[in-house]
C-alpha cells in the first residue's frame, strides 16, 4: 500500500511540475495560481500542499528543469564552437540569448522567483549555476592565465551578469535595451573587447 501511495504522490508531483511549467511559460510566473494547477492536475487544492510545501517550492522544481535545459543548450552550442576562447564566450552568450528568447517566461522565472530576504539559494540552484559558470570559466582561464580561481570566479559572474543585462533589457522591449535584431552583434562586440 505504501508503495502505491508513494507512486501516486510521485506521479502527482511530476504532473504538477509539468502543468506549472506550461502555465508559467504561457502566462508568466506572477499569474501562477494553485487553484488553476489543481484543476489542470485533477486534484484537490490541498493535495498540492501535500507534495510541495508551498507554491514557491513548486516553482523551484520548475526552475531546476529550466536550468537543466539551459545548460544543455549552452553545452550543445559549445560542442560546435571553434577552439578560440573569445569565440566560445560569444557562442555561449548567443545560446543564452536564444534560450531566453524561446523560453521567455520560464527564463524570467529563474530570476523572478521570490527569495525570503537574506536566505541563500538552495543547493541545486547553486549547483546548476555552478555548471553554467564552469562553462564560462574554461575560456577565461585561457584568456587570463594570470588570474587566480577567485578572480576568475568574480569575472565569470560579472560577465554572466553583463550578458544577462543585455538580453534582459533587449527582450523586455524596454527602450533602454539593445534592439532584438542587434542583440547578438552587441554581445559579440562587448565580449571581443574583453579579450583584446
Amino acid at each position: 500500500m505504501a508503495g502505491k501511495v508513494q507512486a501516486r504522490r510521485a506521479a502527482l508531483r511530476d504532473a504538477l511540475i509539468q502543468h506549472a511549467e506550461q502555465r508559467i511559460e504561457t502566462d508568466g510566473l506572477k499569474n501562477l495560481r494553485a487553484r488553476d494547477l489543481a484543476k489542470d492536475a485533477g486534484c484537490a487544492l490541498g493535495a498540492i500542499y501535500n507534495v510541495f510545501g508551498d507554491l514557491n517550492d513548486l516553482v523551484l522544481a520548475v526552475n531546476a528543469r529550466s536550468f537543466h535545459a539551459l545548460g544543455a543548450q549552452v553545452a550543445e552550442a559549445l560542442a560546435d564552437a571553434p577552439q578560440d576562447a573569445t569565440e566560445q564566450l560569444i557562442v555561449m552568450s548567443h545560446a543564452y540569448h536564444r534560450f531566453a528568447a524561446e523560453n521567455f517566461n520560464t527564463w524570467r522565472a529563474l530570476f523572478d522567483i521570490e527569495r525570503p530576504a537574506g536566505q541563500a539559494a538552495p543547493d541545486w540552484y547553486l549547483q546548476e549555476m555552478g555548471q553554467l559558470f564552469a562553462y564560462i570559466d574554461a575560456p577565461l582561464s585561457v584568456l587570463f592565465p594570470d588570474h587566480d580561481a577567485e578572480k576568475r570566479a568574480l569575472l565569470t559572474k560579472a560577465l554572466f551578469s553583463s550578458v544577462h543585462g543585455i538580453v534582459l533589457l533587449g527582450l523586455d522591449e524596454a527602450s533602454a535595451g539593445v534592439p532584438a535584431a542587434q542583440l547578438d552583434e552587441m554581445i559579440s562586440l562587448i565580449l571581443s573587447h574583453l579579450a583584446s
Copy 2:
C-alpha cells in the same frame, strides 16, 4: 471656481505621487494598492482615477521623478570625474550602482512597470533615458572616434545594459550575481577592458 478645482486636483496629484513613491520604496511596486493610497491621501478611491487613468499612470509619474533623481546623481558624479573617458564611464556606473542600492525598490520600478505588449515607452521616459544615454555617449565618442552615431547609440545601450545586469543580479542577492562588496570593482574591470 474652476481654478480652485484645478488647484485641488493638482495638489491631490502631487500628494498621490509622493505617497506612491514612499509606498513603492518601502513595500515594492508589486504591493502598491490604490486603496492604501486613497487612505494615505485622505481621498476617495474613485478620486485617484479622476487624476490618473489607472495605477500604471501614477507609477509612470513616480518613475519620471526617479529618472530625474538618477540623472542628477549621475551628473553630479560626472562633475567630479577625471577627464579620462574610461574613468568617466566607471564613475557614472558607480553612481548608477549607488542610486540603485540606495533606492532599490523605486529603481526596480523603473524596469518592472507593466508595459502593454508592443506599446512603446512614453515620450518622457524616452527623453529621460536619452539624457542618461547622452552622458554615456560623450566618453564613447572619445574612445571610439571612428564609430558613427548609430553604432555609438547601440554600444551605449549595450554598455548600459551590461552595467545594469551586474548591478541587478548583484543587488538582488541572486547567487548568479557579483557579491555586493565587489560590484564596483567588477564594473571597473569590465569597463577598463572595453577601452583597452
